[in-house]
Assembly symmetry: C2
Homo-oligomer: 143 residues x 2
DNA sequence: CTTTAATCAGACAATTTAATCTGTTTTTGA
DNA sequence: TCAAAAACAGATTAAATTGTCTGATTAAAG
């Protein structure tokens, strides 16, 4: 099997995209998010608690509580979620699994892979949540 | 955590690169490969058995036996190893984990990510083992 | 004030992946 | 022929990831 992001990270990205697609400041209980995205409720709840610690999400306890974005969607980048959940190791470690792969000890694909990786990073760092509102609504309607 | 290839696949790529860097037709016992690459012997042995079934590697049992490449290094692409071990799902499934992501049901990053993914595929499909001989020798000397 | 619905905290279970172990078969070479 | 060294097969263990459960705490609303 091959993975880019962990399930945690995938769900985290989905959940934040979901919240960003709703009215700003809107409070979403984890159950709503879980149902709409068809993912486990307790799991998404845990993940959003993590993102709360990272300052990306805010939470409100008690009845009519739930989660909401802590910042305007235009201030949240895809890479912020990835960094908070999976970390940024993938953008530094060797794709072939060689130890201490670096410019002076490069693995055979160091340069070529590095280019792709940089492009991926740049993409994730350039795109903010506000750009995806319409696309997210569209996709979630079709799950 | 984030992963591109599984450990199996990483070790498989390393082992094939190692064999491709040696004299053509050279027989390598798994112990030698494991020691040089500093990876578990039994594990690499298992992986090379898999690659034998896929026709990328050949094996010779008994004393002075071991593994060797089944084809000339110029006929083995990086993507062949990936396909044999991890499969090519990563190049088809949604990076955000959305179900049935496709051109008519695209996820928010479908297009942008698709471009990067295609570039990665093309790279892995273009590069053959013979291109890496020198770089591999260099890297393994520094592990 | 009590019920209800939510986060939160932490333990637990299940699954997958990674790694190890044990033993068998095969082949070479002394 | 026999011992050594290898692949091969399959079971087992270990670790990480994913998912579930239980209960505590908090806050709103009747």
């Amino acid at each position: 099997m091959t993975v880019i992001f962990s399930k945690k990270c995938e769900y985290g990205l989905q959940a934040v995209l979901y919240m960003a697609a709703k009215e700003p400041g809107c409070v979403c209980p984890s159950e709503e998010i879980a149902k709409k995205l068809k993912i486990p409720k307790e799991f998404v709840s845990k993940i959003l608690q993590n993102l709360t610690e990272s300052g990306i999400v805010d939470s409100k306890k008690g009845k009519s509580g739930g989660f909401m974005l802590a910042k305007h969607p235009s201030q949240i980048r895809l890479i912020d979620i990835v960094a908070a959940i999976d970390g940024l190791d993938i953008f530094n470690s060797c794709v072939l699994g060689f130890p201490s792969c670096s410019p002076d000890k490069p693995c055979p694909v160091h340069h070529k892979w590095g280019e792709l990786r940089s492009k991926a990073y740049e993409m994730l760092a350039a795109e903010t949540m506000d750009k995806f509102k319409e696309k997210t609504i569209n996709k979630i309607g079709k799950i």
